[in-house]
Structure formats: structure tokens, C-alpha cells
Subunit: 323 residues, 2 copies
């Protein structure tokens, strides 16, 4: 059986794992990214960690996949711009490959790696057209279509979180007003709950988070209040699900997936969010887009980035082309 | 130089042309489709017409591309469902190929053929990511990405005309309320103008089209009234362009094209429509989607379907794969 290394680089930690060709993780190690020591140092420690996990797993890897936040050039294997890593046109694949004996290294955006993993080795096995979304602190999406990731110009496609909708008045970090992720995210859910408290609505959240504590409300707290029958919490998740459904109605009409995989922390709201989401999709999109459309939770969860990156390396090597 | 036949099948007429590898039309003939005589008869007359134009142009064709309305299976070369041709799972490519000596025949949806033509031999030459839209009686769109058409599940991707938007209250022929094409189409522009007249707005159109004549208003009449400074006509095209821009803002955020090609009859409104469209795109989408985005009118015009279909046949033969 063949093996690959998958790497997920974040601003704080890097996770490195050995994954077999079936998508099973064999060994995994987490090390601090220590961004301030610079890219070359990150690469040196990555090479060490890959050597170490490979030794522990007693396998020889065929290739390495690395998921990096921000913009990447997946053809050249460079990190074009990663704000929280301080990288700009950083030749990650070449530098790492040179330090691990020429083993091929493939770089892609972390969200695409996650969606590739779900599509080929997670909830999307057997589906040809997979729209993957993560509803976490922010919101991200990518499209896997007929064996390939969809990139568009500059690799910028799929920013569903920055589709702007009428009925959303929040100013987004990106500068636009009305971005879907200002509502459909953990941050957005908590914000709407705080506003309900501030408006003086009768909600258990006002009693649980008095005064300045209101700032501590999380999307998980909103789910708990929802389960206690709290009308304000129900209204927040209903509205969030409806707006998420409205954005997805446009996305499925344009991309025509046969599966939507929903991941990310806020997705743990589950049916509280997914029910109004589906209802809005069925109201706002043609039936042939949703009649056979499946909507599933992500399967790979915490190690999705590592598994996705490793499976992406497998895919690139097997296809002999850029996916 | 190599030559191809391009065919555009409509409910009333079929246009058959010989196109060289540079995308130049050599010979063209238009014959009645005569749908009621059945698919086999259509194929027989198509084969005859292809033989005839080939003879007149004194060339031997390498392949045939056929654009068909409705749903197609471009891999099998079948018309899956074409309401106005009465076809269902009709094996068009195989039947025609058998009648023209085994010359390969490639079938695709007519809008995709048009966009393929514009992308490879029209306004999109030199662009890698082309979103093509037609604003005609209805509205249609397709995406050409990195040398391939984008299909999605069931080949249904790209139905921008059926993205529903808040602020549109019309019921669409498809059954949904708020579809973009109920406004952003020749029909939609004329309808909004008729409504302005019905509301008793002061407009030259009310004087030009008194009483029941109001039903005769066309989108071209609205453009003429716009040029005469008519406030109602200006408001109609402003609103239409704004809503078109809102739909396109979502489409470019998801597809990330580097060019939008705008074709179709209603697109002749030109800047009257494109100016508010661009303004809305710049309001509603992140700047990195529109900063370098070009928006151009279609170049191939009337014979776009024929040229697009012929160039698609060339593309399929040259790539040796399904595009």
C-alpha cells in the first residue's frame, strides 16, 4: 500500500500526518508554526517532522500535500499570499522537496485541500460534483467537479462567504456590506445573539450572560438556548439557516453539485441550521438542482486538512496532471 | 487548413456552416427544422445539408459540432430533453455520424456552444476563464474555464437567469418567483416598460404605444426612449442593469472569470445597461474579482452558434478528450 504525507499549516500550529492510499491516518504530529522564525525555518522543521513520522510509521512516502491558508499557485507550488504566515510568493514546494530527497510536494489552499479530502475520501466518496463549505469562524467554500478542483482566475473561485445578499446589513472585514459570512458563521451567529440581548429581547442568553459577559456568547451557547426553546435563539438560527440557504441556492444554480458537504465548527448546530437552509434552497432554486441533491456533514473532521492534503498528493501523482 | 461543420438547431430553423480552423465561416445554409417530421428526418436532412455545403466549399470536414437547446449528454452525444424539438434521449451524434461516413459528431447545449465559440474564437481569445451570458428573449450563461466548459451535475450548471434575487417579484415561466431573467431579458425590459405605462408614468412610450398597443413595446423601444431622455425608460434600464450586476456579482465571486462576454439581443442596449451593471458589480463584489475583470460584447453575433459548434468539434478532436 502506498503512503503520503499530508500537512496542514496554520498561523499557530502545523499538523503533519502519514496517510495511506485509502485515506487512513497512520501517524500524526503537531508542531508550532513559529511564523516569526521565517519561511525557511518552517520548511526545515517540516522536513524534519516528515522524516520523523515517516520513520515512526515505518513507511516510505510517495509525495507530500500541503494545505496553506490564503492564495496559492498550485501549479508552481508557491504560497502567493498568506497574511497570517507573512508569506508572499514563497516557493514552498520546491524548498521542501529539496530537503526531503526530491519527493514531490504539492501545495494548495487549505479549504480546497479539505474539500478535496471530503470529496475523494470522506462524505463525498462516489459523488462527482461536490460543493464543500465550512461554516466556522468565517465561511469558506470550494467546488470539486469531475475529478478536479475548480479554481477560476487567480484561484479565487468559490468565495461563497463573500457573496453579498439583500437583507444583511453588517459590514464585513473585507470591506463589503452584506457578506453571507457576517451571518452564516460562528462569529455571525454569536453576533446576532448579542444583538438580540442588546435589543432587550426576552432570552435565556440575557440571564446567562449578564452585562459585559454578553461578549462571551458563542454559537454553541445559541444552540443550547435553541434546545431550551428560547425564541431569540430559535430566531437567530432560523435566520442564519435561511440566509445560508439563499446563498447556496445561487451557488447550486451556478455550480450544479450533486452533494453539499457542510463542515466547520458552526455546522455543529446541525438540523437547527440545516432545516431552514434546505427550506430556503427549495424556495429559491429550481427543483432539478435540489431534488436529488444530498447535503451531508463532513466526515473527516479534525484531521480533514491532513487527510485532504495527502489525498491531493495521491491524486496529483496518479493523474500525472494538475488537479 | 482543416475544416469543420457547425450546426445550430432551433425549433424553427437549423443553420449549417463550414468553418475553417481559424473560426472563419466559409459556407452557410439555413433550412427549416420541421420538428413534426421527427428526429430521424431532421438527421437525414442535416446529413444532406452537410454534404451540400461541404461540396460547395470544396473541402473535407474533420468533424461536426451541433448545438441543441435544452439538456444534452455531451459525452454520449444525445439530446436528453429538448422541449421545442420534442426530443428525449435522442442519439443525435450516432445517427448523424452513421449517415456522413463515420465523420465524428459532437453534441452540446446551444448556449455552451455559443460560449465555447466566443471563448476560443471570439471576444474571449487569450482569456482563460470566460463567463458568457446571453441577454435575449430569456437569459442564459455558461462558464469556460481553463480550456473546458463547466457542466456540473446533469450538465445543468450556469443557469444565472434562474438565480432568484430579493427585489424581483415576478413569477418566472419556471415557476419560481424572482428569477433574474424575468427582469434581465428583452421580455423583462419590455414588461417593466409596459408596467411604467400602466402606472400612468409620464413617458414617451405611453404616447407612442397608446391603449392596447402598449403590448408592442420592445426592449429596443425602451433604448430609443432612453436616448430621448425619457425618465421611465432610464429607470427601467437602470434597474435592469443593477439587478443584472447583482446576479453577476454572485457569479463572479463563485466562478472567478477574467472576462464576461455579453451577447443576445437585449445586450444591444449597450452602456445603458452595462454602466449600472458594472456599478452594481463594484458595489456588491470584492474588488479582486472585478479589478482586472474585462466585460466585452460578443463578437461572433448571428453565426455564433455555428462557429461555436464547429470550434467545439475542433477542440474535441484536438484534445482527444471530452471538453
Amino acid at each position: 500500500m502506498k503512503h503520503y504525507a499530508g500537512v496542514d499549516i496554520g498561523g499557530t500550529n502545523m499538523v503533519i500526518g502519514i496517510v495511506n492510499e485509502a485515506g487512513e491516518t497512520q501517524k500524526m504530529v503537531k508542531i508550532a508554526t513559529e511564523v516569526k522564525r521565517g519561511g525557511e525555518d518552517v520548511v526545515r522543521r517540516l522536513a524534519e517532522a516528515i522524516g520523523q513520522v515517516q520513520k515512526e510509521a515505518q513507511v516510505t512516502i510517495q509525495g507530500v500535500g500541503i494545505g496553506v491558508p490564503g492564495f496559492v499557485d498550485h501549479v508552481k507550488g508557491t504560497s502567493v499570499f498568506a497574511a497570517n504566515l507573512g508569506w508572499k510568493d514563497f516557493p514552498l514546494a520546491d524548498l521542501l522537496s529539496a530537503q526531503i530527497g526530491g519527493v514531490p510536494v504539492f501545495v494548495n489552499n487549505d479549504v480546497r485541500m479539505y474539500v478535496y479530502g471530503e470529496a475523494t475520501g470522506g462524505a463525498g466518496r462516489g459523488f462527482r460534483h461536490v460543493l464543500g463549505i465550512t461554516v466556522g469562524t468565517g465561511m469558506a467554500a470550494a467546488m470539486y467537479n469531475d475529478g478536479r478542483l475548480y479554481y477560476g482566475s487567480g484561484g479565487r473561485a468559490g468565495e461563497l462567504g463573500h457573496v453579498t445578499l439583500e437583507g444583511i446589513d453588517y459590514v464585513c472585514n473585507c470591506g463589503l456590506t452584506g457578506c453571507l459570512e457576517t451571518v452564516a458563521s460562528a462569529t455571525g451567529i454569536a453576533r446576532q445573539a448579542r444583538e438580540a440581548v442588546a435589543r432587550g429581547e426576552s432570552t435565556v442568553l440575557a440571564r446567562q450572560f449578564p452585562g459585559e459577559k454578553v461578549a462571551d456568547i458563542t454559537s454553541a451557547d445559541v444552540s443550547k438556548a435553541y434546545d431550551a426553546g428560547d425564541p431569540a435563539a430559535i430566531a437567530v438560527l432560523q435566520r442564519t439557516g435561511t440566509l445560508l440557504g439563499r446563498g447556496l441556492a445561487a451557488a447550486i444554480t451556478l455550480f450544479s453539485p450533486d452533494l453539499i458537504v457542510v463542515g466547520g465548527g458552526a455546522a455543529q448546530a446541525g438540523e437547527r441550521l440545516l432545516k431552514p437552509m434546505r427550506e430556503e434552497i427549495e424556495r429559491a432554486a429550481l427543483s432539478f438542482y435540489w431534488r436529488d441533491l444530498q447535503i451531508k456533514p463532513a466526515e473527516l473532521l479534525e484531521d480533514a486538512g491532513v487527510v485532504g492534503s495527502a489525498l491531493y498528493a495521491r491524486g496529483r501523482l496518479e493523474a500525472g496532471e494538475v488537479l
